[in-house]
Symmetry: C2
Subunit: 154 residues, 2 copies
């Protein structure tokens, strides 16, 4: 949901086939709009290899990488679709070599999903936070207090 909200076109959930998670994200994407793609079940390695075959670039988020502020310009200017890789727990060492960039969202331990959110915010130049999504059934109207939701369901 963080990837979707921050402007990613889709997500691969690798090495698992979690139907419940898949259902939740698909359901949110349907209700809140946009064309977010969710795919699961493929191995992380085959996702990366396929991505690179199609001339896409791979960004691996890790506390051991180069500081985000130092490399974001180069990444933004580079050609090809970007695959942002975040690991859960221990990440296979091979991944560091496969990635075009190993990027640190702080060189500190940090939750992977927050690293992903911060990276995407920077990648889109801090300009995507107010984006609206087409084909939404629900739209939240910003409010100082309480909850205002627009029901757009036909």
């Amino acid at each position: 949901m963080t990837a979707r909200a921050l402007g990613a076109d889709g997500v691969f959930i690798s090495d698992v086939n979690d139907r419940e998670l898949l259902g939740t994200v698909t359901n949110v994407a349907k209700r809140f709009g946009g064309d977010f793609q969710v795919e699961s079940g493929k191995s992380w390695r085959s996702i990366i290899v396929d991505w690179k075959k199609r001339r896409g670039k791979v960004v691996h988020l890790t506390a051991y990488g180069m500081p985000l502020p130092k490399v974001i310009r180069e990444i933004r200017r580079s050609r090809g679709d970007k695959l942002i890789v975040v690991g859960a727990e221990k990440v296979p060492g091979e991944l560091y070599g496969l990635a075009d960039w190993n990027v640190a969202v702080t060189n500190q331990p940090i939750s992977e999903v927050s690293a992903l959110g911060i990276f995407l915010d920077w990648f889109f130049g801090h300009r995507r936070l107010e984006a609206t999504f087409r084909n939404a059934e629900l739209r939240i109207i910003p409010a100082k207090r309480g909850k205002r939701v627009l029901n757009l369901k036909p």
Copy 2:
């Protein structure tokens, strides 16, 4: 860990007394440095009431709030220490009234910890990602590939 890495001085984990979580964060803070404070067990309401008594300000992160880019300047310029509140699951309606600002890190469903990370990054003007922490036992040296860690333990 996200709060610590992004520059917060500490965290309250309200309404639970999770010794394992407390231990993990305290351990990371010790190894990676800084003076991060962790407290748990108090109710969310008493934390907020005490905070406001000490003239602190309360920022509640919620998809229903005002867009972050619209309010961040006002928050940054305001006086008093800031308490950033992120809820798990359903948040009590009362919280919207107690908060000085209800702030949306996108008006979309999003993981709370990523909202917290993005908020702190904006709050500190996108300038805290390369901060170093004093009294660290370990320091990660940024690397293009692989892992480089400095052991500073005396």
